[in-house]
């Protein structure tokens, strides 16, 4: 009843400025939302359009329909292999990092630990002081990690920031649970895997998604540390496609005669632009797929980080 009355009042009391606020708000939000969606939509419709028709311009709908470019990307270009590398590093890197960081965070909640404060500080300092680009490179080189797959997953195995998030979460868990488990003779590993991990699911999920997106989007480690083509990640391959017109031209040339043959047989050729667009789609697609589900965890994570700050 009360709520209803209040609503009525609201409508009655609307002034010109209130209406203006509504108009400005909706206009801005909708325009910005379109600005965020349309570029992705455009890239997708461009990539599935018939390359022969795209030169005239594409705006709202795809022209024709052709997915030859995707088939070619995965079979003839270096995208196929780099896609596998990216998936592998994301899966392995996320698993390793979540496990190590969570276990370390759990250890840091054990008040009995000898030198706990010192170890904790040792970890936190790394958030603010790092050797920098060249010293980091020289270290990786000294460890013989250059040009290996390991360089993608090992250096990031522990994240100080994520460790704080997980530690804060574990500290909020009821202590009685752990105590009774300890009394029943559970070892520290049982405690971690059977009690703390299952209870910490929300924060573990948050950190895992953070890590996975980070791994998928990471390219500087590839750029600085790995030159081998067989170990290239999707992001860097995309960058080469985008920035190096000659790279794509070479690819086109290499397969050009085959395409020419195909065209005479009634199949469409791909163009440099359609290759670029399709490569962007392939690079973004897994994220498009994951992020709406992950969003609620992300929001939680950012809030916990803020509570710390």
């Amino acid at each position: 009843m009360f709520a209803l009355k209040r609503n009525n009042n609201k409508i009655k009391e609307r002034t010109a400025s209130d209406i203006l606020v509504t108009i400005v708000t909706y206009t801005f939000c909708i325009v910005f939302a379109i600005m965020c969606v349309y570029p992705f939509y455009y890239v997708i419709i461009y990539s599935i359009s018939d390359p022969k028709l795209t030169a005239a311009g594409i705006y709202l709908w795809p022209k024709g329909f052709n997915v030859t470019v995707y088939r070619q990307l995965f079979t003839q270009y270096d995208i196929g292999n780099s896609f596998i590398v990216s998936v592998a590093r994301t899966a392995a890197g996320t698993a390793l990092s979540v496990l190590c960081t969570a276990f370390l965070a759990f250890l840091m909640t054990r008040r009995e630990m000898l030198y706990r404060k010192f170890i904790y500080r040792l970890i936190i300092v790394t958030m603010y002081v790092s050797g920098g680009l060249i010293p980091g490179y020289l270290t990786i080189k000294a460890y013989n990690l250059l040009d290996t797959f390991w360089v993608y997953i090992i250096p990031g195995a522990i994240s100080a920031y994520n460790m704080i998030l997980i530690k804060t979460f574990i500290e909020q868990l009821p202590e009685s649970l752990e105590e009774s488990a300890m009394l029943e003779g559970a070892g520290i590993k049982d405690l971690f895997f059977q009690i703390v991990m299952p209870l910490s699911k929300p924060i573990i999920a948050t950190v895992a998604v953070y890590d996975a997106v980070g791994h998928w989007n990471s390219w500087t480690d590839n750029f600085f540390y790995v030159g081998k083509t067989s170990l290239q990640t999707l992001q860097l391959v995309l960058y080469n496609y985008l920035n190096n017109a000659s790279h794509v031209a070479k690819m086109l040339q290499r397969y050009g005669d085959i395409s020419g043959l195909r065209e005479s047989m009634g199949e469409t050729v791909v163009t440099a632009d359609s290759i670029k667009m399709a490569a962007i789609v392939v690079t973004v697609f897994p994220i498009l797929f994951v992020y709406p589900f992950a969003q609620k965890y992300f929001t939680k994570g950012i809030m916990m980080g803020a509570v710390k700050g």
């Binding site: 009042n9 609201k10 009391e13 400025s17 209130d18 606020v21 509504t22 708000t25 801005f28 910005f32 939302a33 965020c36 969606v37 570029p39 992705f40 455009y42 890239v43 190590c100 370390l104 250890l107 840091m108 054990r110 009995e112 630990m113 000898l114 706990r116 170890i119 040792l122 970890i123 790394t126 603010y128 002081v129 790092s130 050797g131 920098g132 680009l133 060249i134 010293p135 270290t139 522990i158 998928w216 990471s218 500087t220 600085f224 992001q235 860097l236 995309l238 960058y239 985008l242 670029k276 962007i280 690079t283 973004v284 498009l288 992020y291 969003q295 992300f298 929001t299 950012i302 803020a306």
Partner: protein, 309 residues
């Protein structure tokens, strides 16, 4: 504490034993952190030497602060620092953008609409700078969509495209940052707005305040504490614009205005192999950043009674 005193000696020993055990379990992680985060710091020594490839670290010729003098006396540093200050300054100047967006989102009454807009506008946060570059290229290059449309409508257009337009570089980079981060940045302010007591709004309404007045006198003060923390963090990372964005958007037409400190450190190191200069520049950046962080932390403690680190 009292429980510890009362426990029998045997139990005390068990506790101590566990403390040692936990420390030993943390050891592999500590060694890992030392190996990957602290060992690189030895590389700082190169900044004080005349670096020659192939000579071991401590056998390099010691030259004192000569590299620092050269870095700060060089003709490029002025331009690099200008670009860094302009980009960070613009960032701080426009840092209320996510607040404005959050307030607008909050004014949207339809829950479904708000959710859609929020989901959609966080998407750009999840993609890499390489993908952002690919999309920007599609739209803003000389023959990108924007120029196509301008041409078709007989409107004036820049033949270079925005990405090659040196007069637009700073603003363009700043706005790109907001396109990518505004939706995401708004989340934390939305949470702050949700935390505001709704009775304040009701009371203001009874007092005859219109929507704009309610926003200005209730919502804005409600998000200010959150803003002050984030602003201080921005200030403490004033010199860290990041490398990725500026590397992918770099081209010879705009190099004069896009080379920021992080890019410059890369350019000195990997670009021209002057490891000693690059590390000297990196050390200087770290030292100044630590000073800024300390000041920001003190300010935060004084203003809000909350420590940043």
């Amino acid at each position: 504490m009292t429980t510890v005193e009362k426990t029998p000696k045997k139990k005390m020993n068990a506790r101590k034993l566990r403390g040692v055990k936990y420390m030993l379990m943390a050891m592999p992680f500590v060694i890992f952190i030392i190996a990957f985060k602290y060992v690189p710091l030895f590389g700082w020594w190169y900044a004080f030497t005349d670096f020659k490839m192939g000579i071991p670290l401590f056998e390099q010729e010691f030259v004192g602060l000569a590299n620092f003098e050269k870095v700060f006396g060089g003709r490029e540093i002025g331009r690099v620092l200008r670009n860094t200050f302009v980009m960070s300054g613009l960032g701080i100047l426009t840092s209320p953008f996510p607040i404005i967006f959050a307030i607008m989102l909050n004014e949207i009454k339809g829950k479904g609409t708000r959710k859609i807009i929020q989901t959609v506008t966080t998407l750009p946060n999840f993609i890499s700078w390489i993908v952002v570059f690919g999309i920007a290229f599609t739209f803003f290059s000389s023959r990108g969509l924007v120029n196509q449309v301008l041409k078709a409508l007989n409107l004036p257009y820049s033949s270079m495209g925005l990405m090659g337009d040196i007069d637009a570089t700073w603003i363009f980079q700043c706005l790109l940052g907001h396109w990518k981060g505004m939706g995401w940045g708004a989340i934390i302010y939305l949470a702050a707005i949700t935390g505001i007591d709704t009775e304040l709004y009701d009371a203001a309404q009874v007092d005859g305040a219109n929507r704009l007045q309610r926003i200005w006198h209730i919502t804005v003060p409600g998000v200010l504490p959150t803003y002050s923390v984030l602003l201080l963090l921005d200030i403490s990372s004033f010199l860290s614009n990041g490398f990725e964005k500026y590397y992918v958007f770099w081209n010879s037409l705009v190099s004069d205005k896009i080379e920021v400190l992080d890019y410059y450190i890369y350019k000195l190191g990997f670009g021209s192999g002057q490891y000693d200069y690059s590390i000297a520049a990196g050390i200087s950046k770290t030292v100044v950043s630590l000073v800024l962080l300390t000041i920001a932390n003190m300010a935060s403690k004084k203003i809000r009674g909350v420590s940043l680190i």
